[in-house]
Symmetry: C3
Subunit: 347 residues, 3 copies
């Protein structure tokens, strides 16, 4: 029911501790995350192959994990390398090992066929760890299916209604964005909005090193199943921002919103809001972070409410509206992935 052959996020890098474990359910599977002796992140099935004991109650031994129920020891490949009290280990004594890549301060995990995992396919979130950018990483747990969150991220109509005092503006709701679809790889939606020769927003004014009219932009790039990158900012008007030129004084923000299904009805959500200015202003970092948290709580209340209604009266038709363009394309791209995956299995 979930797309499996793709890179999901399992956590921020700091969530996987140097010692001990992070236990997380991802796509209905119990996953154990830890670091080997070199600090490399490892993801194993959080279930001993012997009697289903959870391995996060076990202990790390060098690169391996020892189940503390009967002492079976597993290496990072998932192979059982020791069974106390017996000389040999049968080859079927192994647990799933998930391909893991750390990139841009995120721990990426491949929940599908390991043979298909290509680390080069991982989307770039360079603003997480570039010295030219600053952000504070966030996490929210959701009592809702992850697709309801994706729906929310890909529509702009809701900004004016759900976030009237935080993110929303009427102009944002009224302006029709340009939506482009790229079918290469897993597919990407790009949703672009430009406000040329416009007033600088108050937030930007308070930090800008320049004055006067600006060319403003919001460019969303979304990839299934649930990766959103946003590029937003203001540049002095006429300096070529819309053609890709970013003069040094341009104020730039990058936003990250990533979901991974926990179960059918619960989700993990990682986010951050990065900027390329005032990097050492810790108070600004915190202010921006808290602003996002407040707005995201506004979303969460609505989206968890949706889930509750869907649980009570499932299967009712949903009437599409014009503002659904983004979310419809996103659902289409996700369904395409799922369909391709099902066909590959059927072959």
């Amino acid at each position: 029911m979930f797309v499996r052959n793709c890179w999901y996020v399992a956590g921020w890098d700091h969530e996987v501790p140097a010692e001990g474990f992070l236990a997380r359910t991802l796509l209905n599977e119990p996953v154990l995350l830890y670091r080997d002796s070199t600090g490399r992140a490892v993801a194993l099935e959080n279930r001993c192959c012997h009697r289903s004991a959870p391995l996060h109650l076990g202990r790390k031994e060098g690169d391996c994990v020892r189940c503390m129920y009967h002492g079976l020891k597993f290496d990072p490949s998932g192979a059982c390398v020791e069974i106390p009290g017996q000389a040999s280990v049968p080859p079927q004594a192994r647990i799933k090992s998930y391909p893991v890549v750390e990139k841009n301060r995120l721990v990426w995990i491949w929940m599908g066929d390991p043979a298909l995992a290509q680390s080069g396919d991982i989307v770039d979130f360079f603003w997480h760890d570039s010295p030219d950018w600053r952000m504070k990483p966030g996490y929210i747990h959701y009592q809702a299916n992850y697709q309801l969150i994706v729906d929310n991220l890909l529509d702009f109509t809701h900004l004016a209604w759900v976030h009237p005092t935080t993110l929303g503006t009427q102009s944002a709701a009224d302006l029709k964005p340009k939506i482009e679809r790229d079918l290469a790889g897993n597919g990407t939606l790009t949703i672009t909005r430009w406000y040329l020769d416009d007033e600088m927003p108050n937030l930007h004014k308070s930090v800008a090193a320049f004055e006067g009219k600006v060319d403003r932009w919001q460019v969303y790039q979304w990839s299934p199943p649930a990766l959103l990158r946003m590029d937003a900012g203001s540049a002095p008007a006429g300096t070529g921002a819309a053609e890709g030129v970013r003069v040094p004084q341009a104020l730039q923000f990058r936003h990250t919103s990533i979901q991974t299904p926990e179960t059918e009805r619960t989700s993990h959500y990682w986010f951050c809001q990065a900027r390329n200015f005032a990097l050492d202003d810790a108070a600004m970092t915190e202010t921006i972070f808290q602003g996002v948290v407040v707005a995201f709580e506004e979303d969460r209340r609505m989206i968890e409410g949706q889930q509750q209604v869907l649980d009570l009266v499932p299967g009712r038709p949903m009437i599409p509206i014009a503002a659904d363009a983004g979310l419809s394309q996103a659902r289409w791209l996700t369904d395409r992935l799922a369909r391709n995956e099902a066909q590959a299995v059927a072959k």
Copy 2:
């Protein structure tokens, strides 16, 4: 599974606020209750037809409700009258609107085919809003199917056992009531008990404006699926109470017990106990109310216990006893409604 083509209670009138919303699940459906600009109660599906967002997180705009997710606006008929960002509204963009009638301080709702709703069919509870009567309205939420509550209300045997120190008397348990069935409309059961030339109960003595023997009565009128009206009191003996004469000094009580299914396993319960004397004695109003609450909590403990047993061992046979006459007839009348409704749908 529930009878739908009948009037249910959705709440006391004061539960539906002048501003804002009352969100209630009725018969497994999410219902939104509010008042239009003239104060008239409106009941809509509490689910936006766009993406199933709950409308109680929205806002009232004049007579209409605006979903605060994407701004769709619905009028009291359930029609979507505005979709932000698009000029026209497709005709299928609408939500259920439930016929609503306010009568006797209750908000009545029709959960079935709106074409069949006849406000004239609503049972009379005049003691709720007559100047000659005084009551305090009550509400209980139940963790049990509503029919278990109906069962309880229609048997008198339980009074002596469940309420030995509150409502019960051994004479009440022993006296066989007269049970009459009227099949007109949804059907009505009338259960009548008279104690002629009897001692006045202590409660009555303390408030009566007369002395001596009385003719006492308890007349229950119950209509499916779950409407109970009780007429009880004491009149000076021989003044014709049993023939319908109520002399001015007669002490009269009217009791209301109404249930509406929330889900298969939970119920709403509205009640009151009205009297036609000492109308301005607020302390008496409160004392009577609290007495009912105490007795109803005795019932609730038993009935929710029943539900727990039924959940653990469903489907076991139930052995009828003589005292079941009332509840058996009530179940028969409810089944008759359900059967008629199923046949009408099949045509």
Copy 3:
């Protein structure tokens, strides 16, 4: 799904009060336990045959139980002996009565065909009530299927891992025990370990009335579905302990671990650790009890963790290891009982 034709424990004798009731769910059935006027324990279905009201909300009347909903009265055989308001009681008005035997301070209950209940089949736990032994009875409620607890009790490998600082020793994990199977009756597994001419453990040294080398033993006797008796101790070396001789100064312990399914996912667990020395040392009794509780909490954390993993990913294969000998045989014996029971029903 549970073996039914066998004796289960319903509680310690003191859990069934002299007055009032103990309500327990056993094998998914609601059971009412109480004592008749002579103090004898009685077990009835905790469900009135009339309308499924729970009888523990009722009251005891002599040897009988009265349902406090409508007053039906049941005798210890489960027969309804009184229905208020009617002269005769129909023969089908009865509830299940379960055979009950009190032995060794335990209340034993037969959940299957009463005709097959033979009190002589009840396993002996003489150390519970013998004047030569001392113990403190314990109870734990488990959020796990009872067989996961049995698995735990019948393997010794886990001692070193789950209980490294309490029960476990590496030698215990390494020594292969002798496992014997006796198919008489419900079957019995006997798991024996002897350490001849060995050092006395520190615990034993602190209480022994003798010095020097010892012959130590641990003998588990387990019977399906979930009865464990353990005989453990130290005797002066060469005094014939291994041949069955127990000289008076031998330090002996007896351990009891008994489970009864509550539901598929929850269990009752009764235990004690008895000794034949220092009988009047109440502090030692408490110290031993608390030591067991600490170790059992270590088990509970792991076993409830197993249940959670099994709930999340049911049906995954389990890879057997050499240390499973005990638990495999136990599961085989339990399955044999279940199979025999199914065949007897099919005839």
